[in-house]
């Protein structure tokens, strides 16, 4: 379902002016805190009113300032998973889950209670009260509650932010399941690149109240000029690859992508599955000749396309590996010593173990 957003809104000193459209199963709104990500979600949900603009989900216009259209939030049928769950404290888990169902017109109820409860493993929690749930359980109930209102679009506002690292993986797994099995489009706000790589195909980069870039995750992550926007995360390219072989004895998987192959630890991916692999720039080394006796399993040949600016010890070097972009972070000393310059053929060396579960998503 196509989501079209073109909004303007001032909040105190902050001004949001953002326009983008998306069509993917999961679209990530990514940017630093304070860039306007959550504001966009609140505008789409109808909790805030744009000063000007248009918001449409599929063929339904939710807001249009020129037509005077402004559908009330309770009529929009947009699910919203808030950062801290916001379960209704005076109701049981079951009552929380069924709250929205009642308000959905009969003909538009696609969400089946038993199916959603099974999908999110909520059965043991049904008779409990929100105060007796852990953070991860609360978030699962919040996701189930939003889904059971049979929304046409699901908004998720950093749903992992209030959880500890262990719980994050657990909830990510459930979000992947709902993405793959439920088929409701998701607009996912995050400032953690791991989540984006794992979940989203499409990325909208926000910066200071505006859209800095939109595109596929792999196309945007290797663009060096976006580094200041993407910010403090550990930069690196995202490669979309196909699992071609599993070496069960060595515990490795062989992935193929346009331009070469990667060997990575076996991540329970099956042959034929498509993965998004994030390769951190600092895990990529460069060499002028193919090393003969080194432990690097991945040696990719390519050419240098650009060298980033940098006045510290390190710079980012952009490479072209047979059509696939890759980023390497090396010292300026090495750049000078090896004579790295645009157009120069090089070998990119990547340790297989640099790729772990947190840097892979299923495409």
């Amino acid at each position: 379902m196509r989501v079209e957003i073109d909004v303007e809104k001032g909040l105190g000193d902050f001004r949001l002016k953002a326009a983008f459209s998306c069509d993917a199963a999961v679209t990530a709104l990514f940017g630093r805190s304070g860039c306007g990500k959550s504001t966009v979600l609140n505008l789409v949900a109808g909790l805030l009113k744009p000063e000007r603009g248009r918001i449409a989900v599929g063929d339904r216009v939710l807001f249009d300032s020129t037509m005077g259209t402004d559908i009330a939030p309770e009529k929009r049928r947009i699910g919203y998973v808030f950062q801290d769950g916001l379960l209704l404290p005076h109701l049981s888990v079951r009552q929380n889950l069924t709250f929205g169902r009642f308000f959905t017109p009969q003909a538009e109820r696609w969400a089946d209670f038993d199916r959603i409860v099974a999908l999110l493993d909520l059965a043991p929690l049904l008779e409990r009260r929100p105060h007796h749930l852990s953070g991860g359980e609360k978030q699962r109930v919040a996701i189930g509650r939003a889904l059971l209102a049979s929304p046409r679009l699901l908004l998720m506002d950093e749903p992992l932010a209030s959880l500890d690292a262990g719980r994050r993986g657990e909830i990510l797994y459930y979000i992947e399941r709902l993405r793959d099995e439920v088929g409701v489009p998701i607009l996912y706000v995050s400032h953690e690149i791991e989540e984006v790589v794992r979940l989203a195909g499409h990325l909208v980069l926000l910066s200071e109240g505006g859209v800095a870039a939109t595109g596929s995750v792999n196309a945007l992550m290797s663009r060096m000029e976006l580094k200041p926007v993407i910010g403090r995360y550990e930069g690196g390219a995202v490669i979309e690859a196909l699992v071609v072989e599993q070496d069960l004895e060595m515990g490795l998987a062989r992935l193929s992508f346009p331009g070469g192959e990667l060997q990575v630890p076996d991540l329970n991916a099956l042959r034929g599955e498509r993965l998004r692999v994030r390769v951190r720039a600092r895990d990529v080394s460069l060499a002028l000749s193919r090393p003969a006796d080194a432990s690097f399993l991945n040696v990719l040949s390519g050419t240098v396309t650009a060298i980033g600016a940098g006045d510290g010890a390190s710079v980012d070097v952009q490479l072209d590996i047979g059509g696939t972009p890759l980023l390497a972070r090396i010292t300026r000393k090495s750049v000078a010593g090896l004579g790295i310059a645009p157009g120069k053929p090089v070998f990119a060396l990547i340790k297989a173990v640099a790729v772990d579960r947190h840097s892979v998503g299923y495409a």
């Binding site: 949900a45 919203y80 929205g100 959905t104 209102a149």
Partner: protein, 234 residues
């Protein structure tokens, strides 16, 4: 000294309970609406409205009683209209006593509910809206249940205030046994009569017991409401 309760004393107790219950229940919707306005809305004259709601707390009760008499007496502008339109007479009737008590208890009711409303995380109401609940549903399923502790506290305060109301009642509806003579008025009457000490004392004990009972019932209700909201096992 105590002896047994006489029918006329019992009548005063019965009347007091009736007046307090009716005044509390009747002022609840208005009290909730005022509390909601003051807690949630910004409008010109808000400070003035807030002050007016609190007036009965600071004015001498006799002033309230006299103003009620002027407005709601059978010749008063509102009293005349009520009698002609609804056949409702307040002056010198127990209904008038209930009105006086309601007015005196209103600030306490509004304060308690308002505090409770202000403590609600309003994003819960937004969450309910995204699930499809319209304004009235949000009010009925989120706002009112979450403000129940304040509602119960306010109702108790208003009820207790009504049980003790004296000045406004005696000024507005006088001291008519069986019609407007509530417990405090009966106690006052007995203290004015030679040999009425025992009766006055008996009624005082009853007043203490009634107030204690009201306090305890309200405490239980508030605790239950809080447990429901907070999920505590206290």
């Amino acid at each position: 000294m105590f002896g047994s309760i006489t029918p006329s004393e019992l009548e005063a107790v019965r009347l007091s309970l009736k007046v307090a219950a009716v005044s509390t229940l009747a002022s609840l919707p208005i009290g909730f609406a005022l509390a909601w306005l003051l807690a949630r809305k910004q409008f010109p004259g808000k400070t003035l409205l807030d002050a007016i709601v609190h007036l009965p707390l600071v004015l001498p009760p006799v002033v309230i009683g006299y103003l009620l008499l002027v407005l709601f007496g059978r010749r008063g502008p509102l009293g005349q209209w009520l009698e002609e339109t609804f056949g409702l007479v307040l002056a010198f009737r127990w209904t008038g006593a209930a009105l006086a008590c309601a007015l005196m208890g209103l600030p306490l009711l509004v304060r308690a509910i308002r505090q409770s409303l202000e403590a609600i995380d309003r994003r819960l109401e937004s969450a309910a809206a995204t699930l499809g609940a319209g304004r009235l549903w949000v009010l009925a399923s989120i706002t009112i249940p979450l403000s129940l502790p304040g509602i119960f506290t306010g109702m108790l305060l208003s009820f207790a205030r009504s049980l003790g109301e004296f000045g406004a009642t005696i000024t507005f509806v006088s001291n008519i046994p069986g019609e407007t003579q509530t417990l405090p008025l009966a106690i006052y009457t007995y203290t004015q009569v030679p040999g009425g000490d025992a009766q006055a004392m008996r009624l005082c004990v009853l007043a203490v017991l009634l107030s204690l009972a009201a306090l305890m019932v309200s405490e239980v209700l508030v605790r239950r409401a809080n447990r429901r909201i907070l999920g505590d096992a206290r």
